[in-house]
Point group: C2
Chain length 434, copies 2
């Protein structure tokens, strides 16, 4: 009699999902990894696609390619609609897939805190299509400014507002200031792009709220050196195509980017279990769903509390990767024990190891917080670049990103200044050339 | 009294438009170069974006960047609606621009010979968005095949039909055969991609009709070695989402690519002058429009007859570049003569110098026809690669393309296997995993 293999279904091919699959390499299981995209995305560098420094494919690797030599895994491209924990089924648009173990790693999307109407004007940055949309919007703004003769409209074209001063917000604001001030001024004839304003708005009293205070101060100083206007303790009350309101103050701006909030993937809602305010599944100490020891939720989709520190595991790549590895190994050991006819081993709780935190602000500018030691400027920037190259998933991406960075560094240029898709300059009053 | 400078308006930032602007570098003129895109595209390598070997930005350079140091040129991003030769005006969506000299270099688009309803099913390849659309369609076909259990539907997923066996058609067919046969087989678990069929349909009796017969024979042999099924003397009578009909024969195929015909940009129709059947403006020996010596049409938009050979200048990059350079120099000399108070010099007719022709079919496979000498295989492939690297417009593109090719060559991989935009696998009968 042939024994039916245990089937492990992994939803999501991000940092968490990929990390969960790898420890199962030699396990006697069938793995199905489902993602709506055909690629794994290195999200920490997505802002560099949005700011024309990198190509989409520099930071994306086909999931199939990653698992080319892991023969027990099938990669399926499809949209997961719901999870039916009662009947142990994952439901996609095309099929139902039975699982013995389920690993949910569907990530997060941006949240406009109930103001979803802002999303058209102020795009967030989670997907490659978000990044190319932002790239288009930013590059088109300069094109429009070049043709605009109405002074107020031109100023609005050249005003960039970034809402939210977490790592992504700081990175976007710094990059935008560099583009306008250093990369492109010589390419324009009628507009002085160095007059562009970059405004970074944050509701909290400091930038990089998840970092130590010393890092926040350093980041603030470095942003201001680049010419970014940082507004702290300011709550955005409205976003329109004309600009951004903070209470009584209105900032006319044609370019608004959203980096303020995230919420977990809506698939979590179909599990029928308790979620926190950000839509994350509240998981047990072993990252399983209460009442379903064979169902795990990891990464940005989970609200996991580290039993040692009693703090939430942060929604960063490291958190997802460590959670994925933990769950993959746990399943591997349980499957192995069952195959030997042993009892399942007792599960040790998941514990997050904080390797530190980094954010970059521009060329030679960054902050780092590693092992309780904070540093900024050139050294932090170098460390940031090295760490990100090392963690890129494949050799090709490392080479491509390294080359692009070298180019950007040496020539103060950006290699991917393409406006793709339908695009039209938006000019109130073009010059009279008649 | 300040003398008003002559204004030169160039429509289109392709090979022709860029080549026309460069000789005017030191002329005392104001140049406005208008393009609907912000980038110059190296079209001969566009099929490599469609087949996931290159990134869009590897073969596209911002037009502003190209002319960064040429201060007498303003680059305008905008859509030209019409040309009013009577009043010497170019009309865009936003403004009217008066010209003293006009250079039309708006290129060509694909033609379905009156069957425009085929365009949705059988995309052509002229723009970057065409290339990423084709890339998506091809990659999705393999994803669908992986999930498909219905044998006929799976076979249709794995059948690729390329219509038209000019250089683009041969290049696409060869690349497709390489992807299915060499790049991706190990990435799939349920489908054997080496069973994919690539069918190349051509109405004429040979492939590469513009090449010498010896090159056509060599190309045919090389295509067949790669497993491409080449059908000659076959006229496509219908294209539907289910497949392609040639008279009574129906080829079920879910992937159909159009490489059969082009027509000139429709802007030519607004000139009010005689066009040929492909919509090209029939120009004089100096590439000017009959009756308008200050209006020139070059590149794919023009039907220019070389007075020496009495043959049409071919619609290739070389033809556009040589025409552009000729017109740019002619304007430079006329402006200089007028400034000195001299009479305009007599115009010498434009003569096309044929540097030869090349097409690649796959790794180590190509044909070349240079100086009446035809060769194929490895040597032609090497020559093709060198020539294309040399002609890429900027150093960054040369490096990026060189690196990507080295990668593809060494690892039989393709670096840009991303399915972007809205994408969903299309499966008739998914596997039963319930």
């Amino acid at each position: 009699m042939e024994e039916i293999k245990k089937r492990v279904v992994i939803v999501g091919g991000g940092f968490g999902g990929v990390a969960a699959a790898k420890p199962l390499r030699r396990s006697d299981v069938d793995i199905a990894l489902i993602d709506r995209r055909n690629y794994h995305l290195f999200q920490p560098l997505l802002y560099q696609v949005a700011t024309a420094a990198l190509n989409p494919s520099d930071i994306a690797a086909p999931i199939r390619r990653i698992f080319r030599s892991q023969k027990n895994i099938s990669v399926l491209m499809g949209e997961v609609v719901s999870a039916d924990l009662e009947n142990q089924l994952i439901v996609t648009e095309d099929q139902k897939i039975r699982y013995d173990y389920l690993v949910m790693a569907a990530g997060a999307t941006h949240s406009y805190f109930g103001n979803d109407q802002w999303s058209e004007t102020a795009p967030g940055l989670k997907k490659i299509s978000d990044a190319t949309k932002i790239r288009k919007q930013v590059l088109l703004a300069f094109e429009s400014a070049e043709m605009e003769t109405d002074p107020e409209a031109r100023e609005a074209c050249l005003t960039f507002v970034v809402i939210g001063a977490g790592p992504t917000g700081c990175e976007l604001a710094g990059a935008m200031a560099e583009i306008a001030g250093q990369t492109i001024p010589k390419d324009f004839r009628h507009v002085d792009t160095t007059t562009a304003r970059v405004i970074l708005i944050e509701a909290a009293p400091r930038v990089l709220g998840a970092f130590p205070e010393k890092s926040s101060e350093s980041a603030l100083r470095q942003l201001e050196e680049l010419g970014v206007e940082v507004l702290l303790n300011q709550m955005v009350t409205d976003v329109t195509p004309e600009g951004v309101s903070c209470g009584d103050t209105f900032y006319p701006a044609r370019n608004v980017l959203w980096a303020a909030g995230v919420k977990a993937s809506p698939i979590g809602e179909t599990l029928g279990v308790e979620l926190d305010r950000a839509g994350r599944v509240i998981v047990e100490e072993d990252l399983s769903v209460p009442g379903h020891p064979n169902v795990f939720v990891i990464g940005d989709q989970a609200a996991a509390t580290d039993p040692k520190t009693e703090k939430l595991v942060p929604g960063v790549a490291q958190g997802a990767m460590q959670g994925g590895e933990y769950v993959g190994k746990l399943i591997r050991e349980e499957v192995a024990a069952l195959a030997r006819g042993n009892e399942e081993p007792v599960r040790k709780p998941f514990s997050y190891f904080d390797k530190g935190n980094m954010a970059t602000i521009g060329k030679h500018r960054a902050v780092a917080d590693v092992g309780g030691f904070q540093f900024g400027g050139y050294l932090a920037w170098l460390a940031w670049a090295l760490v990100h190259i090392v963690f890129l998933i494949d050799f090709r991406s490392k080479v491509a990103v390294g080359m692009s960075w070298a180019w950007t560094y040496l020539f103060t240029d950006r290699g991917a200044r393409l406006i793709t898709g339908t695009a039209k300059v938006n000019v109130k009053q073009p010059p009279d050339l008649d």
